[in-house]
Amino acid sequence: MTAPTLVVGELHDGALSDATKEAVAAAQSVSGKENVVGFLAGSSPRGPAAGFGRCGVARAFVAEDPRLDGAIDAAVAHLVASAADSVGADLVVVGGSTFGRDLVARLAVRWNAAVATGVTSLSRAGAAVEVRRPVFGGRATETRHLEGAHAAVALRPHAAAAPPEVPGEVALTAVPIEGVPPALWAPKCSGVKAVAQGAGPSLTDASIVVSGGRGVRAAENFHLIDELAVSLGAAVGASRAVTDAGWRPDSYQVGQTGKQVSPQLYVAVGISGAIQHLMGMISSRVIVAINSDASAPIFKVADYGIVGDLFQVVPALTQEVRRARGQ
Amino acid sequence: MPDFSLTPEQESLRDLARKFARTEMAPHAAECDRASRFPEEIYRKAYDLGLLNLNVPAEYGGSGLGLFEQCLIVEELAYGCGGMTTTVIAHCLALEPILLDGSPEQKERFLKPFCAEYHIAAFALTEPSGGSDPGSMRTLARRDGDQYVISGEKCFISNAPQASLLLVFANVDPTLRHKGVTAFVVPRSAEGVTVGPDDEKMGHRASSTATIRFDNVRVPASDRLGAEGNGFSLAMRTLDQTRTPIGALATGIAQAAMDHAAAYSLKRETFGKPISEHQAIQIKLANMAQAVHAARLLTWRAAWLIDRGQKGTLESSIAKCYASDAAFDVANEAIQTFGGYGYMREYPVEKLLRDAKLTQIYEGANEIQRIVIARELLRGYG
């Protein structure tokens, strides 16, 4: 008899995030559909928790309290641990996000769990949970066995495909909030303002990323990258040369000390492919490089390459993409 | 030296120099070489990090490094750019006589303010009459009360245009020949000191070299280092100290040349395969490796001996002579490995040959080194 697996949900725009659905799929594949139990905490989780039903999850816990909005991780960890214990779950899975990783970190201590983050594949190996995850900026992959009574795993974004939507109902059980020790509610912030990054998808979430580098030559030319990204529905990234030069804010930087992304498609425009940049995107599924220098290191790691003048190729590509997508 | 490994401290120093060479020097090496430009902004950064006043003790504001540590640093800097490293070495060379023969009062007076801010020093020994024959120098220092009046001309002086402090060797009594040579610390700003235009050199073009003329330059006797007639011995003892770092400089150039050649040989294909798989190239690379390893170890051992208080004349001469000849040969073969591309200014290897050449000439031409080696060697058999 497989013990239940608890999937901790997170909201995006008021509904279960894609990362949460991916977590459900991973949990279902490793524990069996009937053993997956959902969990959602927030100021009003019941409405969004119905989304679990549409993923084929039959039961879910909801923890309801206005203090649960925002990252009050200590309290959430406590609630997750007690919900997991109440059904005898031995595995907690959470989607690839900041919240997910932070929660797993706390569960490592609070729930005495064997943990792993950034996991790309999840399976069982006897009594242990086996995880695979990229390390060293995606230049290597490690396999680990999580051993012990409890395990908690945070996935990497896009590690699994969200389950197909089904018409399903989820039975909700309330988790008592009173059990949370008062000390864990210690107020730690006064006022959170979520500021949208831009019109496009966020860099770490996006399944397509178009990045520009030094080859773009000047800030005024960067719109070529933006336009290609819009045509593909992609997020925009940049190499460190670009953010150093101030053509785009630091938040655009993809690299060792910037964001690490693992989209389905990464288009590197005018980027030479220095190792610091590669460490931010090498685990992308498909890499396309556009550069005028045939000896640029990026061509060694790309799947497809165009050696040409980006000022001609990129506009032509944008136009072709628009035509192909019927825009 | 039974243990060839570096201490963590030595590794940290070497890493600092390596990082500076690769991030601050190397990116500008080609441009400075092309324009024959003295990159003061880079030397200022070197000063800020403690990579300029390498041989000056910490109590006077220098980095106070032993010769071995200096060599570790010099090799890394030379990997970035030989010319820029010559500026540093020539600067340390100029300060060395003060360290060797300056009185405690002179050391305090000259070195403390000098090291407290960015300053450059120049060592003025060589004359048109002969670099290898300093005893024949014609620059004279005439005693006049408690001053000396210096007149003459020094040529090929590294750092002359930018130096604020000059280490000048002049003869107080030409009838004594080399026994009259005397050393003086002369401020560049002294009246009568004129620096000529920059020499146009084959290599080390990021280093500035020029002629200095002394027209009745008055220098207080208190700025004389050691006694009258002490200068020749002081110059020789100074060069004893600085010979080994030249071996390190040459090793850095040789290592860079070999790295370029090896990397290129793995990428460049002819006859359907990388040229690294052709025997002709493999033999070249093997010879390069032998030369680089030998140059480094000879330099290390000489530095180690001198740090232990030995004179190390034989070992340092061998190191300087061997490493500089090796640098020239390795750079030459590196160009050959690149073939036609190696001949193009656009590729980095031809600069390395031009830089390597000077290491066979300056700080004691290799002909002189061989005479010294023979003399020291035969002494052991005599």
Binding site: A77, T143, E147, A316, A324 | -
Partner: protein
């Protein structure tokens, strides 16, 4: 302000990765371990906060095996940290992140700590677990993916941004707390030579690891794999930019199957 910064020695970015003989981990022979990435940025941030708030001190802490952990502590001291503490673990493989967090918690709780800084994750295992685990162990809040960290002394508030999936959040918090920095200082300071020499003689306090760690879940590496060597890009041949664009879109649709 008493600032504690947690660092981890990590293989240099240029390291050629090799698989150890038993196939389970990285071969660490001849690997150079350094202070780098987000940890280097965390030290830089700590020093900037110290300079902006006179009277503050920076205490650098690390848990790990000799000699690399000591080297990274000395590198931090050379950069300007005031004090260093080392929780020495057995030579060889580094402790896993949660064990490291437990060790760090022992070190941190033994010293004054208003603000505990660490990097978002380490460049090798990229687990990003230390801040959260430390938060549980020390009983203080932790904030991850932080950028633009500032201390508002007048209001006694830490102000920062957090980069999350929702976008850029603006936060303020009171001390004590833990901050995991996503900040990358594009020009972190370089230690000067005299500081490097001096750092070799500075004392490093030692705190022993917990002799009896609690029974907890463990993770065991079973395989370490390098991807098959990339053969290099298939270059698209073209005569005009339009032809290049058409061919690329076709290959992305039909061959790579990634066209949206």
């Amino acid at each position: 302000m008493e600032i504690v910064v947690c660092v981890k020695p990590v293989p240099d970015a240029e390291t050629r990765l090799r698989v150890a003989a038993d196939g389970t981990t990285l071969d660490i022979e001849a690997v150079k371990f350094v202070l780098t990435g987000y940890d280097e940025s965390a030290v830089e941030q700590a020093l900037l906060l110290k300079e902006a708030n006179p009277g503050s001190k920076v205490h650098v802490v690390s848990a790990g095996p000799p000699p690399r952990t000591e080297e990274v502590l000395r590198a931090s001291l050379a950069l300007g940290c005031d004090l260093a503490t080392w929780v020495e673990t057995p030579p060889g493989v580094a402790p896993d992140p949660v064990s490291a967090a437990r060790a760090l918690a022992r070190a941190v709780s033994a010293v004054p700590h208003d603000l505990v800084l660490c990097g978002k994750n380490a460049g090798d295992d990229e687990a990003g677990l230390v801040a959260g685990a430390l938060g549980e162990l020390l009983g203080v809040p932790d904030f991850s993916s932080v950028l633009d960290l500032r201390w508002d002394a007048a209001a006694s508030r830490l102000r920062f941004q957090r980069s999350t999936e929702a976008g850029m959040e603006t936060w303020e918090a009171s001390l004590p707390c833990i901050v995991a920095l996503q900040q990358a200082w594009n020009d972190p300071r370089t230690a000067k030579l005299p500081s490097i020499l001096k750092s070799r003689r500075l004392p490093i306090a030692k705190v022993p690891p917990d002799p009896a760690p609690p029974a907890a879940g463990t993770t065991r590496p079973t395989k370490f794999e390098l991807p098959p060597p990339r053969t290099g890009a298939k270059l698209i041949e073209f005569k005009t930019p339009e032809e290049a664009a058409q061919k690329l879109v076709k290959v992305l649709k039909e061959e790579a199957k990634v066209f949206p």
